[in-house]
Each structure stands twice: as C-alpha cells, then as structure tokens.
Subunit: 367 residues, 2 copies
C-alpha cells in the first residue's frame, strides 16, 4: 500500500509509478476548449471514459459543460452517485441486467439519456420503463463512417425513430454521431473525414425532421475535430474527452492542447551504458496508442513496456547528467484513456506541490 | 454496480463482460504442471503477476508449489495479507518508500526474498534492515539474454555477491535468471534460446560458487519453457504463471495447457450483415499479445477492440445460427496477464454453474 500521498507534499516525493496532472496546463486546456466551442456556438459534453473521475467531471461542468458522456453503465452510475444529472450513455447495452440498470438510472436522473441502434434494445428498455412508470430518453446512434456501432442509413434511423414514437416508455430526444475514425489523424485527413461524417449525420437529421421527429441533442465530435465541429452546422454538442489531460497520439495529430498528464517512474535497473529499466511497464502506461515518451530528459527513450518493466534506451553521449538507479523520469502517455484506466488515482500538481488527489472512481468497473 | 454474481447461478446468467475460468481445465493445467516438474525434480514457484488472486495462489500452494513470485511490492503485500509466507519479489525496486516497504515485508515474512541488480538497491535495503534488526534475503538477477534488467556478466554478479557478503542487513540466497524472451516462442526457438539462457546463468552460478557463495534458490523458467527447464540442470524452481489460465499467445506457441480463461461478452449492436459490436473492448480484453479470439461460434471473428467496443466480423455464410443483439459470445484473451489486470473478479465455473468468485485483489495497485 502506498501510504505517502498528501496535499502539500512535493511532487518529487511521490512514490512511483504515479500519474500526475499539471493543473495549470489542464486548466488552460479547459479554457481553450470552452473558448473554441463558445465561438462556434456548440456545447461541451465531455466524455468521461477518459478521466473517469467525478472531481474532474465537476471541474468541466463548473466551467460550462452542459453535461457529460459515459461509455458504460458503471461509469454513469459512478457519476450519478457523484451528483451529476445530465449523462449521455454513448454505448448501446443489451441483456436483462443492463436494461434494468439503465432504467434505474433514468428513474434517478431526469437528464439521463442513452443511445440505441436496435429494436431489441428499444423494446427491452421500454418494457421495463413502462413497468416502472418512467420514460427513458433515447438518442439513435448513426454510424458516421466510423464502421462500428450505429445504424448505417437514414432509412434505418427513421425506422427506429418511428418505432420509438410507437413505443410507450421511451422517447426520442436526438441523434448520436461520433466520428471516431476522424479524431486522431493529421489535420488534412480530419478536414476531409469530419465533413463527410457530418454529411451522413445531416442526412439522418433531415429525414427524421421531415417526419416530424424533434431532435434536441445532436451529439458527436471530439478532441481531434473540436475546432471544426461547428463547420458542418449539424452538431450542437461536442463529446471531447482527451483534450483535458492529453496524450502524445493527440499531440502528434496536432490537437491544440497541452500534455497535462504524465507518469513519474523510477529507474530500478541500469544493466549497462545503453540500457535502463523503470517501474512503469504496460500495466502502468498503455501502449495501444503508440510508445510512451520520456520528457524533460535528453538521451533517454522509452522503448517498450513489458508487463511491469519499462525498457529505456540510453544514449550516453546525449545525457546531460548520469542516469542512475533511483532517478525519477517523467513519461507522457501515448493513449490517455487506456492509461488512466490502469490507475487508482491521479495526483494534481501545481508549482511542484501536490494540490489535489483525484480517485479514478469509474475505473475498475468493467461492466 | 453489477449485483448479480452468486455461487450456484448459471454461467449464462452472468452479466457481461466477465472473465470466467473453466475450473476443470484449470485443475488439469495445474496437475499437468505439477507432474512435469515432479518428473524433472524442479519446484514450482508460480508467478502471481498473472492471476493476481490469493485464492488461486493458495490453490497452487495446496497442490505443492513451494512459494510464489510477485512482480511488485503491492502484489506481495496483498499475498502477505492473505497469509502467504514464501514470496520472491522478481522486480528490482528503488526509492526510499519502496525500500521501506520491502524491509517491512522482510520483517513480517522470514520467507520473503527480493531480487537486486545494483549496489544502490543493496545499500538502500541494507541500511533500513540494520536499523530494524532484520536480515533481508536477496537474489541477484542475472540478465540471461532477455535484455531487460539483471547484471550482464558473471563478474558483475560476483561483485554484487561480494558486496552483499560485506554488508550487514542483507544476505545472498540465490540467483534469479528469467528467460522472458524465450517463453512465448515456437518450440524450435525455445529449444535454442532456453539452453543459451541457462548457459549464462550457469556461468554466474559457477563463478559465485567458486567464491563460496551459497545459492539456495536458482529461480527462473516459465510456462513456455517449463517442459525443458530441467534439461540444463541449472534451475531448481520454475516461475510459470500463465499455464494456470492460459491465453491464445501461449497456445499458439505450443504450451501444453488448456485455455481455461475466457471472457463472456454480449452483442450490443448489429449494424449490418457482416458486422457486430460486443461489450468487450480493449479495456476488457488487452490486445498487446495479439487479437483476442472468439471461440465456440463459427462465422464470428474478433477484429479489434476500441476502448469499450469489441468489433466483430461476421461471415453470414458460416453462421450456424443468427447472431443477434443480446447474444453472448465467448472470447479467449490473447494475453492473460494484462487482461486479468483489467478486471475486478474472475468467476470460476464448472458444468455451467458458478462455483467460485475470485477477487483479483492484487490488481489496481500500480505501485
């Protein structure tokens, strides 16, 4: 058990490996996003699959976010328990237990909304909702060329919308069209893929509105597309999540936010001149988004994470100071979502001093 | 919160995604390993970075394992709290907090042992040990061509061994030489790489014994090499961990154990004829060891995990029955260690009935 973290301690005294958040950088990221969206006339509905922390969710709501997105029921339950009322569940669910939990959330939170893309889910949710005397708010998910979930045509969207209208216990409140394939990409790709994605969403909007379906929430967008999400004139809210803490994949794709999140790790082995091993492997720093990156120290490269070992390459000629066993190295995650998911807490630091300890309360709930 | 798991329920009623263990297969894996090692005259010291569960650790000890390995202090602390006394910590540690926790474990458990590969760690541990009136058991880690941690020559090993002999508060009890590079490989590679690795370890053993260092524990080996770990005549204990639950990477490398671990996941979206999405993405099934694999259902392939979505490819012609939203599909993990680390519990099943619920108590402790 790490017993050492407390407010007011020096960052350099933290036991490693540990995720630290540069609070100043995080606050600048949030201010920048709020400004961008205000200029565009879009709302922010941050996706909490990234930070998984009610404390950070509240920071974004306090800054003007109209609500939040959650990727799964367990996340939504954590956020509901933390007093957050306007939650959009962005993944479909299926199975009796899941429908029950979803309807239970709808009973607790009038602002709860969930995406659907099948009659199966609509009927499963509606049957329980009627029993319990609640009406569940639904958004139909449109596959905007991402090739994952969501209906694949405006005709399918209309079929589901009509089905929802004909079904007691559920009501259609909007469409969900997340262009996941168009986020972590170079600007030139994003500028082509996002408008194309919004075309697909627009077609569904048009067809549904022709048939008198009222669409209050047109939800999509993300960190990568946030600067251009307004251009197509379709969305009214943006689901960005990574912008707050950031990672190297989004930085390399040109997202205009700072790397606020890093991992401190200690050198535990220095077998020879060109090699070192640190205590942050792939159970600490995910590598699905690329290789994590040493920062603030020349001559040291993060090569590859074993389960619990981080393998570092050392260029002796480029070292400014010797790299010794016991030294602490700072590493930027390549993918913030899967990295945060591995940790129990993030530590908020300002001017080298621990100012906040944020439990990652919604991690560890697979369901 | 998933409220549904209880002993005696049917496996098919489990809420997904959930890790299930075929208890019969697991027991056969354990019996097979014990037999193999008994024939070889080697002890089993299973590595708990895989199962991370005290309950499964005790199953292996009850079957004859002489002790366990842990990858980090937090794992060792969990196992010590569960009453396990003979623990080998297989990663080096550094930093004042870590040395303190390591010496605290040594005070609690006379059978505690830790690997070192630097004077820095030896001195840090020894200083505290002397203060606290305890002698800490150390194994020197030898890099047996893995290219990670460990000293890289017998001369370095001797230097450290002599240093330990000259230092109060620590004593040398053995060598640690884990051939990590020679485990998940085709048999023809393993049969070359393992003997080469054992040659390196043997050289260190010989040099240290010439200098009258007594080496009680010669620890290494793993699931991939377990059948040939005895051949070189160097090791006296094997650190296999994955054999108990298994994954597709080890299966594909020809490890003679059954895939006892699988993940049940529900189809949540069925956008078109050839695509489906399930509720097990890469926060549920790691993909660092390759792509997880659908089993028991023809015509359905696990393509790729997004964060929370598992993307399935469907071959309509090969489907034996329609694949519908709400259907449960079984998936084999590609890498057991990083997959188990994502979950709170494993559910033990026999004959379709839940027989045990094993909390993965040592996950979620990054430190």
């Amino acid at each position: 058990m790490n017993r050492g973290i407390h407010i007011g301690m020096a960052e350099r005294e933290l036991e490693t490996p540990v995720l630290v958040v540069d609070i100043d950088a995080m606050e600048r990221n949030l201010a920048r996003m709020m400004e961008t969206l205000a200029d565009s006339g879009l709302n922010l509905r941050p996706h909490l699959k990234t930070a998984k922390s009610p404390a950070l969710a509240w920071k974004m709501i306090d800054a003007g976010a109209i609500g939040v997105c959650c990727a799964k029921l367990s996340e939504a339950e954590v956020m509901a328990n933390a007093g957050i009322g306007d939650i959009l569940l962005t993944s479909e669910v299926a199975g009796a237990g899941k429908f029950e939990r979803l309807v239970a959330l709808a009973r607790r939170l009038p602002g709860f909304k969930a995406v659907v893309d099948s009659e199966h889910a609509i009927d499963g949710i509606a049957a329980l909702a009627v029993q319990q005397g609640v009406t569940v708010n639904l958004l139909i998910e449109i596959d905007v060329n991402t090739g994952r979930s969501g209906v694949t045509s405006a005709a399918d969207a209309l079929r589901l919308a009509n089905h929802i209208r004909d079904t007691a216990g559920v009501q259609l409140v909007g469409l969900h069209g997340y262009a996941g394939h168009a986020q972590i990409r170079p600007a030139e790709d994003r500028e082509v893929l996002n408008p194309e994605a919004m075309e697909v969403l627009k077609e569904a909007v048009d067809v549904l509105e022709e048939h008198n379906h009222e669409l209050t929430y047109l939800s999509g967008g993300g960190t990568g597309s946030s600067a251009i999400d307004a251009e197509a004139g379709v969305l009214n809210e943006v689901q960005a999540g990574s912008f707050l803490l950031m990672d190297t994949a989004y930085r390399d794709a040109g997202a205009p936010f700072e790397n606020a999140l890093s991992c401190l790790t200690t050198v535990i082995s220095r077998p020879n001149e060109t090699r070192a091993v640190c205590d942050a492997g792939q159970k600490t720093l995910s590598r699905d988004g690329g290789t994590p990156e040493v920062t603030g120290r020349s001559g040291v490269t993060y090569l590859r994470g074993s389960d619990e070992h981080g393998n570092l390459e050392v260029d002796p000629a480029a070292l400014e100071a010797p790299l010794n066993v016991g030294d602490v190295v700072r590493v930027l995650p390549s993918h913030v979502c899967t990295t945060v998911n591995l940790h129990d807490v993030m530590v908020g630091v300002r001017d080298g001093i621990v100012e906040a300890i944020w439990p990652i309360e919604a991690r560890g709930h697979v369901w």
